[in-house]
């Protein structure tokens, strides 16, 4: 069975796509191929903390779409859904080192953590100060004592934006790492899928769902979720995501949040905004102020249909950094 995708050779998908990305956004990034990484066009920036993230491909625009002024200095795309090896992470780390140290933003998956660790060790051996923040905002993973821990999902985008703004305003490595940790600690996410996705090399859906079934607690790698339920109205689905988030990190009435409704890639905006509307109503009912919003496909699983909701308990400094100018392929304002 042929894989129905706009690709040439499954083994060349990432290289060809990243090449196209580099061409389309040559004003913002440059792309290196041996080993593959995407770097801010003006990197390294002397005296600025460098921000590097990366992970398996297939989550676009994450991470390359967030490279640029006010966000990441480099992104390291691995094979589809496979964390990159240490070499390109090391190369990216060197490429963005402006003398003020480098922060690795790593989603909490065994592979990502191990490969970034190795790269950090190698970079340290080359005299670059490296700190890592491991994001783990996914409340779908319960009993994290008995698992590899919570996964890093959509909250990662918020960490990258806010930490990126902190680095851009000249914060030190310690300070940038601290704000990244603070964002991660205050972010909670949960996702669901209506359809699976097909990894190009695998050629088959990541899981199968009946016509009337959905997966709750899905990750971003086409991995099956935590439970499977019958299709329900959007309002109820939104509740299924929001309730565990608010249970995990309760809000007092009057507290502020950033509400992020993220599409998994194949869900139309019409549905994401519909879900956003109900989520905003539910939060208003509880007296939680939606201070900032983000709606769209920012961290995806190829063509998977579904969405995740993220709440970030936000404070004045985070709001200021969120509002700060950003100029990347996928997130841009203020310049």
């Amino acid at each position: 069975m042929p894989v129905k995708k706009i690709i040439n050779d499954p083994k060349r998908v990432v290289d060809e796509s990243v090449a196209g990305f580099g061409r389309a956004h040559a004003d913002i990034v440059r792309v290196e191929f041996d080993p593959i990484h995407v770097v801010r066009a003006d990197a390294p920036i002397a005296g600025k903390v460098g921000l590097v993230s990366g992970g398996g491909s297939g989550h676009e625009p994450l991470h390359a779409g967030f490279v640029g002024f006010g966000m990441l200095d480099a992104a390291v795309p691995g094979a589809v859904f496979t964390s990159p090896t240490p070499d390109p992470i090391l190369a990216a780390t060197k490429a963005v080192d402006g003398g003020a140290g480098v922060l690795h933003i790593v989603k909490n998956y065994t592979g990502d953590v191990l490969n970034f660790e190795t790269a950090a060790d190698l970079a340290a051996a080359d005299g670059i100060e490296v700190r890592a923040v491991v994001t783990n905002d996914d409340v779908a993973v319960k009993d994290s004592l008995y698992t590899a821990g919570r996964r890093g999902v959509a909250g990662t985008v918020l960490v990258e934006k806010i930490a990126g703004a902190a680095a851009e305003r000249g914060d030190s490595l310690d300070e940038v790492a601290a704000i990244a940790e603070r964002v991660n600690a205050n972010a909670r996410s949960m996702g669901l899928a209506l359809t699976p996705c097909i990894v190009p090399h695998a050629g088959e859906p990541s899981f199968t769902l009946a016509e009337d079934e959905i997966e709750i607690g899905i990750g971003i790698h086409g991995e099956p979720g935590r439970e499977r339920v019958k299709l329900e109205p959007a309002d109820r689905l939104v509740e299924r995501l929001l309730d565990p988030i608010l249970e995990d990190l309760p809000y007092a009435s009057g507290e502020r949040t950033l509400l992020f409704v993220n599409g998994m890639g194949g869900t139309p905006l019409v549905e994401l905004y519909l879900a956003y509307g109900h989520a905003a109503s539910l939060l208003a009912d509880r007296g939680i102020e939606v201070a900032r919003s983000l709606v769209g496909n920012y961290i995806t699983s190829l063509e998977m249909q579904g969405m995740s909701i993220t709440l970030l308990k936000i404070d004045d400094e985070m709001i200021e950094l969120w509002d700060a100018p950003v100029q990347t392929a996928a997130l841009r304002w203020g310049r």
Partner: protein
Amino acid sequence: MGLDITWAVDWVRRSADVIAEHRVELITLDREIGDGDHGENMDRGFQAVLPKLDDLPAGSTPGDVLKLVATTLISTVGGAAGPLYGTAYLKGAVAAGGAVSLDGPAIATILEAARDGVVTRGKAEPGDKTMIDAWTPAVDAAAQQAAAGAGAAAVLDAAAAAAEAGAVATEPLVARKGRASYLGERSAGHRDPGAQSSALLLRAAADVAQAAAGV
């Protein structure tokens, strides 16, 4: 009769073949409780080792081969398996040292060092439904055989058989490490892909040793 550089090189070639043959099987296992890339990752890694074998300088030892596999897997596989297998081969290489020929006890020591490396990096315990559940019985069986005076080929054969049994025994387990752990109870009823690839690689080592021993 010890296992030399020819065995080591042949083992790598056989490994590449076996992984390529089982690529889809490993992808399928990983799709069921993971993200469906394990076969692709391992295949990419071993295919990348093959051309490098030709560049091994004369006088290379089995340890050099293990080191070459380690660095290549680390730089081409990615995911969890890349660093974990990379560490396994690296620690194995260190244990092999400069020996030109590996006897039964040497093999048992190498396997134990490899397994310990994986545990150090991945923090998995037996029963967590990971490759450790193939490696641990393999290490135990190898140690037993070696202590009983078995030759290298027989030690590897025992290790492979134990790893195969260990891989099968992951099926009822609930995963507590790696991507499958996110599934909770739903991970039960599926074989761990990394345990399966470990069994395949150890079986390849035993088969090649058997052939070298002319059995």
